[in-house]
């Protein structure tokens, strides 16, 4: 185990060195700069209710993406989102530790439970793992409800804040996101990531060339659930509330949709997916009343056509991406970006 750790760390360090000299680095800096100055151009509401969730869900989607890159497609990631959210808040409230420490400890707890679930799933094939993870997310609701006196999960409660909501929190979330996603990027590019992808591609072959698939699957689980827990803690901060709703299947399917639509396996995919889906959710509802007026005659049984139509659209979008653009939207954007660059000449290597 020690050797793996040393090798992995070394590989990660190499990747970091490579990256800091690559062209991607400048692109990354540009994105960071844009995100940093956004609050100057948009209202506080947009910063707090549109951009901040985009950032937090980018972490969440990236965590799911990392796990999926090892062939483990979890359908119950909301369990860890929620564990992180509840744990960080409960720790801060019940033991008086500063909420920021609570955030880290909550993520660690999420990773610890992730280890247990990962152990249970280590020998499972894709469909079974999906079922077990989904099942876990359902059972955890029952568990939290049964221990409501301790968790306060049924009615929910107010989470103690690390920083003020709005612009200060935006920057905090952004910092966490930049660091987390960067770490996940390094991991995915390192030997660890290589092992994950090998297992994903063909587990039997990976075993044959000597990869300890069980160990790497577990590592992927632990890393993924750590960041999912972190995203959960941050999300609870962003709405200053945590309750059983966080375990709903919707929150399990969200990172999947974001990662797949954005581009499964890439680093920018989950980020793009988060932006797209969150933008849809923030802005499309505003046409709901117009839709009702237009489409009600077509759908007389429904009073409010907007939400089901939106969800149906997302379902179709997901299927379409998987069938026609399995690499997600990211490569399309990259193609567009390359096209724009080439039309302004100047080739950099």
């Amino acid at each position: 185990m020690n050797r793996t750790l040393v090798n992995s760390l070394g590989s990660i360090k190499r990747e970091f060195m490579n990256f800091s000299h690559s062209q991607k680095f400048y692109f990354f800096l540009a994105v960071m700069a844009i995100v940093a100055i956004m609050p100057l151009f948009v209202s506080d509401y947009v910063v707090g209710e549109v951009l901040t969730p985009m950032i937090i869900f980018a972490i969440y989607a990236s965590s799911w993406n990392l796990l999926a890159s090892s062939g483990q497609g979890s359908l119950g990631h909301a369990a860890f989102l929620g564990i992180g959210g509840f744990a960080s808040a409960l720790l801060a409230i019940k033991s008086g530790i500063p909420p920021i420490i609570g955030l880290f400890l909550g993520s660690l707890l999420s990773a610890a439970i992730g280890l247990l679930i990962g152990l249970a799933c280590v020998r499972l094939k894709a469909w079974f793992l999906a079922m077990v993870t989904f099942g876990f997310s359902v059972i955890i609701v029952t568990i939290f409800s049964q221990f409501d006196d301790f968790t306060g999960a049924v009615m929910g409660f107010r989470t103690p804040l690390i920083v003020e909501r709005g612009v200060p929190f935006y920057y905090m979330a952004f910092t966490f996101a930049a660091v987390s996603i960067f770490i996940m990027y390094l991991i995915m590019k390192s030997k660890l990531g290589l092992a994950f992808r090998a297992i994903h591609q063909n587990e039997a072959e990976a075993k044959m060339i000597g990869i300890n698939t069980g160990k790497y699957r577990l590592i992927a689980f632990v890393i993924s659930t750590f960041f999912a827990g972190l995203a959960g803690g941050l999300y609870a901060q962003s709405i200053q509330y945590i309750q059983n709703f966080i375990f709903e299947p919707y929150y399990s399917f969200l990172p999947l949709m974001m990662a797949v639509i954005g581009g499964l396996g890439t680093i920018e995919g989950p980020i793009i997916g988060s932006v797209i889906i969150r933008a849809i959710e923030s802005y499309l509802p505003s046409i709901d009343s117009a839709l009702d007026g237009l489409l009600h005659p077509l759908f007389p049984s429904v009073n409010h056509v907007g939400p089901p139509l939106r969800m149906l659209g997302l379902g179709v979008f997901l299927i379409a991406v998987v069938i026609f653009a399995p690499k997600g939207v990211a490569p399309l954007i990259r193609k567009a970006y390359n096209y724009l660059r080439s039309s302004t000449s100047e080739e950099k290597t």
């Binding site: 029952t142 306060g152 049924v154 009615m155 929910g156 107010r158 709405i239 200053q240 709903e248 509802p285």
Partner: protein, 462 residues
């Protein structure tokens, strides 16, 4: 000499004219006058949220058509502009955003609405922090106004407390709480049903009424079950809770739970859930399980869909309610008659319960702004606190709408009652009659008929 007199009179007239003109000018509508923005916090994905929307729009239309709201500060009446904060399914994750936008972007003067307990507890924080008056017409938990220092933090856990007296002063709860409905239900069983059972079946007076509680496993269901039990205990009522079963909120069939309840031989079953599930329980209980007892539903079932779903199985079953659009005409209060008629005319359907609170809240807001003379939020808050208008669609213990300033902070004292459903062959649906309590302030005689046991009723064991 005469010239000076004439000059003096002319000067006096001119002076008076100038003064009068000047006074008139200050009474012209101030250029600051603008429509009053009221944010409606409603969950449009649910039928209840849409009922709130219709009720709100009806109230706004009525007020605006009658001239609007007079704001003394601006020397004119202005219209109400409705700002929609659609919380979709009212889970905390979806509720906070729309309310934040209404408060920070749309800059509403006042908020009305709220539906679920969790969602409202989450979204009210925005209003508390920004000092925006919020008349909460939903949320069955009393914590929405009792989580602050004025109520000694109520039953709030440490996590729920908000130690901000000023902020909390902007919260008002114009709704019944789980304690309000439980109180009426258990009192009904003790005062009305038990004597009837005892005389019909010649039970000994010392025999307690056997009650079963079947509830959905969430804050609402658990709250009602807990409140009912504690009320029975604290008031030493002659009721035994012989069975208590809960099921996940996603369940659609309850036959096994009903069988277990049947085994416990209850005299009555208190069903705590929303319309679809309650109707299903009442039907399955009678049709599939053979649990031929009397069922009582919670007031959130007071909705056209409930009566439609129940069909004949609703005959002689009970509904605790605070607003009874089906118990008439003639209605127990004129305002109800007017509202039901207008609502039906406008929307071609009978109003539900959630909309009733919302409708009243708009009139509370109008009254408060007019008495405050300004839209300044602190002044409006004070005016709401001193509200004393006559009851409208929700009955109160004093006959007036008044918000308490004691430890039941900013709550009203509503009167809830029990209706019995009666099958109406002509309409093909059940209609209701009020059976308890006998009287209510401001209304006088409330009871419309005596409570009777359903056909084929079987009491629990003797």
């Amino acid at each position: 000499m005469q010239k000076k007199l004439i000059v003096a009179i002319v000067v006096a007239i001119v002076a008076v004219a100038v003064i009068v003109a000047g006074w008139q000018l200050t009474q012209l509508p101030s250029p600051e006058a603008r429509p009053i923005k009221i944010g409606l916090v409603a969950c449009y994905e649910k039928a209840e949220g849409q009922d709130m929307d219709r009720a709100a729009k009806l109230a706004v239309k009525e007020i605006n058509d009658a001239g609007g709201v007079y704001v003394a500060e601006w020397h004119t009446s202005v219209q109400i502009e409705l700002v929609i904060a659609d919380t979709q399914d009212d889970t905390p994750g979806k509720a906070v955003g729309p309310v934040t936008r209404a408060v920070t972007e749309d800059q509403v003067d006042l908020l009305i609405g709220g539906y679920t307990s969790a969602g409202t507890l989450a979204d009210q924080v925005v209003a508390i922090e920004n000092r925006v008056p919020y008349i909460i017409t939903g949320a069955s938990t009393s914590l929405v106004t009792r989580r602050g220092p004025q109520a000694n933090f109520g039953t709030a856990t440490d996590e729920q407390k908000i130690d901000d007296a000023e902020g909390m002063s902007y919260m008002f709860h114009y709704c019944t709480t789980t304690a309000d409905y439980s109180k009426t239900v258990v009192n009904f069983f003790a005062e009305s049903m038990k004597p009837l059972l005892d005389s019909t079946y010649e039970f000994d007076a010392s025999r307690n009424l056997r009650l079963a509680i079947l509830y959905r496993d969430d804050a609402f269901g658990k709250g009602v079950a807990a409140d009912s039990k504690s009320l029975i205990e604290s008031n030493d009522l002659p009721i035994d809770v012989v069975a208590e079963r809960s099921y996940p909120a996603t369940a659609t069939s309850f036959q096994t739970d009903l069988t277990a309840i049947k085994d416990a031989k209850p005299d009555a079953v208190y069903v705590v859930d929303f319309i679809a599930n309650t109707a299903e329980i009442i039907k399955e209980g009678q049709r599939d399980v053979g649990l031929n007892t009397v069922y009582i539903a919670v007031e959130c079932c007071e909705d056209p869909a409930f009566y439609t779903l129940l069909g004949e199985y609703g005959d002689k079953q009970l509904l605790e309610s605070k607003f009874a659009p089906y118990a008439g005409p003639p209605f127990y209060l004129d305002t109800i008659e007017t509202y039901v008629t207008n609502y039906q005319q406008e929307y071609d359907t009978i109003p539900g319960m959630m909309g009733a609170d919302t409708y009243d809240a708009f009139y509370i807001a109008k009254d408060a702004i007019e008495r405050a003379g300004t839209v300044d939020k602190a002044a409006v808050r004070d005016a709401i606190e001193s509200c004393a208008i006559d009851q409208m669609l929700v009955l109160t213990e004093t006959g007036k709408i008044e918000f308490s300033t004691g430890t039941d902070y900013h709550e009203i004292a509503p009167v809830t009652f029990v209706e019995q459903l009666v099958w109406n062959e002509a309409v093909g649906e059940c209609r209701s009659v009020i059976v308890y309590p006998a009287t209510a302030p401001g209304v006088g005689e409330l009871k419309q008929a005596d409570f009777v046991l359903p056909e084929g009723y079987e009491p629990g064991s003797s």
